[in-house]
Structures are given as structure tokens and as C-alpha cells.
């Protein structure tokens, strides 16, 4: 019986949890958690633990864990280092549970770490930074961040990652070696018309029922790959902008995805014309539909960052997004209608949803 839905919020000043019953029309806010640290991402692992990650200006990066639904937290960054001779890790952008209890962390400057003991200690998946392109990786405006971690749903040796202003990579040997996966993706800001890397992926994902089909929202358009990222096809189509940050995939339908187009990078990166909307495709990105029922349509210059849209796993799934001005909008009907679930939170960096009994 699915009777409780929670939305896990990472903000500039702490983690928060929104809770509702299955109707998802009355939300209660709990928090702030994690000592009001800047929290880039909060996830619930399959074992039930909550993990939150970020980086504090004074005390550095750390991963927090709660085994009691947020009542108490511990934190650790043991092993989250490139060594005393390496660059300083400033923050953690993404946490993603993998197979067999593994937890992955994407950090800045870009790199991948894994924990096999529920976030107590971490080890560097060093093969990624051994890629020959690494000396030429350059940070974008948001930093040199590894933000998308996309494990294959059944093969623990396969995984994709996305690094801003570098692009997508795939490993097929458990992280020992990595291959670039950027063919077909524009990099309009690069004088080279067809670079091997340097594409600015903003968010990448797949549906576990069809793991060869990847989607990404990029700095320069929305893309689909049907061969595990070897070749990408642009699906920006009728979207009002090729720019946006988040991308979410319907939990039960691999053909349905959501994006939030925003004004161009030099035009504010907010909702176009102050008219907020989520766009949905039911056909793998071949066509798009604007969803704005219940969203503010006037003077709403909202920004939504890469990690700040998510779906829950209810039979009719909910869609959620959080804004840089502290609002959380929720839809209990796949995006057909929306309501304001929370307001006045700190600037929101991430949104995840989970369902419990």
C-alpha cells in the first residue's frame, strides 16, 4: 500500500522534507536538516536510509546520513579526496544509489566516488579522471561538476556519467575505463563544430525498462540516444527554447519525459516571458506539450536548476520541481495540473521524490 509520499529538497541552506499522503494535495514541511549546510542533493537509498550531500564554505564537502527519517544525522567524507597532491574537492553535486547497495557520489572538480558501506567511507573511481581528455576539462559557469550518474539497471559494470562542459561518458567495465558519448550533440559555444568532448550536458537519464535509450537536457538542446549514448539525436523540436537544466523521465512509461525550457544563458535562464511551464513528451521527444495548469503564468521569472525536478512512483505518478526562489510545485496527475506545495524555502538546488508505506 503506497500511502505516504515525500519530496526531498536540497537547498542552499539545508535539507528539507515535504510529506503528504497519497492524495498529494496537502504538504507538510520538515527541516532544515544537516545543520543548514548547503545541500546539493538528497536521496533515499533502497535500504531506507536518507543521504544528503553538499559542501560547506568552511568545513568542506561531506555526505550526511539519517537512519530515522531525518530525526538525526551523521556526516562523513572519509576517502572523498584526490589525495594531498590533488585538487581540493569543494562540494558533492549528486548522490545516486547503484546495484548491490553501492552509493555513488559525483563531485566538483569532476570525479566519481563510490561507497559500499552506506556512505561511511568512499573510494575514488579513478578511471574516469585517467581519461586522456581530463587535462583539457574546463569548468562551465556552474563549475566542473559531475552531476549525472546513471547506473545500468541490471549490469553493474555499465554506467554513464555527465560532466558539465565536458560531456557524457560510459563505462562497460565497472569504472576502470570510460569512453566519450557525445556524438551528435551540439556545442555552439565551441569554435570546433564537432568536438569529441566539451559538450555541456545539464542532466541525463534513462528508464530502467529501456536502458539503451538515454535522454539529456543539454546547454544546446534536448537529445535522445537509442544506442547507449553512442549517437545522439536532437529532439528539441517545438520546445520554446533549447536551454534548460532538469530532465525527468516518467517512472512507468519509458516514452514520456519532462523538461523545463528556460530563456537563453545570456537572457536570464528563467521561465520564458514570466510564464512558468513544464513541457512533456509522450513519444520519446518527437513532440512536446506545454503543461501550465495551476502554474503562475504572469511575472513568474522562476529558475529551476539541473537537479530540481523529479517524479514519484505512484500508479499515477507525481511530478515535482523546485525553484531558485524557494517554491516547490507539485502535480499529482503526471503534470496535467499543478499546485504550490511549499514556498519561502531557501534557494532550491535539488528535488527527489519517494514513496513509502
Amino acid at each position: 500500500m503506497k500511502n505516504r509520499v515525500e519530496v526531498l529538497i536540497g537547498t542552499k541552506k539545508g535539507a528539507f522534507i515535504l510529506e503528504s499522503d497519497a492524495a498529494r494535495d496537502d504538504w507538510r514541511v520538515r527541516g532544515p536538516f544537516c545543520e543548514t549546510w548547503p545541500i546539493h542533493h538528497v536521496v533515499r537509498a533502497p535500504d531506507g536510509a536518507l543521504h544528503a550531500a553538499g559542501g560547506n564554505t568552511w568545513y568542506g564537502p561531506s555526505v550526511w546520513r539519517s537512519d530515522d527519517d531525518g530525526e538525526s544525522w551523521t556526516q562523513s567524507s572519509a576517502g572523498l579526496t584526490y589525495g594531498d597532491d590533488g585538487p581540493k574537492i569543494t562540494t558533492i553535486w549528486n548522490l545516486t544509489p547503484g546495484l548491490n547497495g553501492t552509493l555513488y557520489a559525483g563531485v566538483e572538480p569532476a570525479g566519481l566516488f563510490r561507497s559500499d558501506d552506506r556512505g561511511q567511507t568512499w573510494s575514488h573511481v579513478s578511471g574516469l579522471r585517467e581519461h586522456p581528455s581530463m587535462p583539457e576539462w574546463q569548468p562551465g559557469n556552474g563549475g566542473l561538476c559531475l552531476h549525472s550518474i546513471v547506473p545500468h539497471p541490471t549490469d553493474s559494470d555499465r554506467m554513464w556519467v555527465g560532466i558539465s562542459a565536458v560531456g557524457a561518458f560510459e563505462t562497460t567495465d565497472g569504472g576502470k575505463t570510460w569512453d566519450l558519448r557525445n556524438k551528435g550533440v551540439r556545442a555552439d559555444f565551441d569554435p570546433n563544430p564537432d568536438p569529441e568532448f566539451g559538450q555541456c550536458v545539464h542532466k541525463m537519464g534513462l528508464h530502467p525498462a529501456n536502458p539503451e535509450m538515454l535522454f539529456q537536457q543539454n546547454h544546446c538542446g534536448v537529445y535522445r540516444s537509442e544506442d547507449g549514448g553512442r549517437q545522439w539525436t536532437e529532439i528539441t523540436g517545438s520546445l520554446p527554447s533549447d536551454f534548460g537544466f532538469p530532465l525527468a523521465i516518467h517512472p512507468h512509461d519509458p516514452s514520456t519525459l519532462y523538461v523545463i525550457p528556460m530563456t537563453a544563458p545570456d537572457k536570464g535562464r528563467h521561465m520564458i516571458g514570466g510564464h512558468s511551464a513544464v513541457w512533456r513528451s509522450r513519444d520519446r521527444g518527437d513532440s512536446w506539450q506545454r503543461l501550465d495548469n495551476g502554474l503562475p503564468k504572469n511575472d513568474a521569472y522562476l529558475g529551476v536548476l539541473r537537479e530540481a525536478m523529479a517524479t514519484d512512483s505512484m500508479d499515477r505518478p507525481g511530478i515535482y520541481f523546485g525553484t531558485s526562489t524557494g517554491q516547490v510545485f507539485a502535480s499529482a496527475d503526471e503534470g496535467d495540473s499543478w499546485q504550490l506545495a511549499a514556498d519561502f524555502l531557501p534557494p532550491i538546488w535539488s528535488v527527489e521524490a519517494s514513496v513509502a508505506d
Binding site: E35, T57, W58, Y59, G60, S62, S72, T74, Q75, S76, S77, A78, L80, T81, Y82, G83, D84, D85, G86, P87, K88, I89
Partner: protein
């Protein structure tokens, strides 16, 4: 014994938090960090970054003098203050 003063924002990061003021036997700043980490595992990671160096926005004062060098000698009876830099926003 040196007297070490810890900031609230640091001690609250630990489940069994250290007192805000404690006495430690240590010859250098590095040893103070090591003693703290023995008592509260993970403390070193909060105070030091790659190098190892004292984190950029953590200030350490030994008898009123700001010190950045982990090899700094700690006089007996020293007063050591660990203070996060002030910040806006």
C-alpha cells in the same frame, strides 16, 4: 596542556559532540588536529583540506596570533582558538 576552543558550528557536526573548550597535550597544530580526530573521527576532514592545509576559511589563533602552518609549535598552557571566518549571505 593547551586549551582548545572549538566553534559551535563544528561541534554540532558530531553525534557525541566535543565540549566547546577542552585541554589537549600536543606539540604542534598538526598534533592538535590529530588528537581531535582521535576523539571525534572525521574532525580532521572538517579542518584540513588537500595539502594538507588548514581549510581556507578556518582561522586558527595560538595565543592570539593567527597561524596557518600545521608545524606551528604549541607552547604549554597555550590558548588555541579555532574560528570560522565571518561571511555574508
Amino acid at each position: 596542556m593547551a586549551t582548545v576552543h572549538l566553534p559551535r558550528s563544528l561541534v554540532t557536526l558530531f553525534v557525541d559532540p566535543p565540549p566547546r573548550r577542552l585541554e589537549l597535550q600536543a606539540a604542534t597544530l598538526e598534533e592538535i588536529v590529530a588528537r581531535l580526530d582521535e576523539g571525534w573521527p572525521g574532525m580532521r576532514d572538517r579542518l584540513l583540506e588537500a595539502g594538507p592545509r588548514i581549510r581556507e576559511h578556518i582561522n586558527v589563533f595560538v595565543d592570539g596570533e593567527r597561524e596557518r602552518n600545521l608545524a606551528t609549535r604549541i607552547p604549554s598552557e597555550a590558548q588555541v582558538h579555532i574560528i570560522p571566518a565571518v561571511a555574508g549571505g
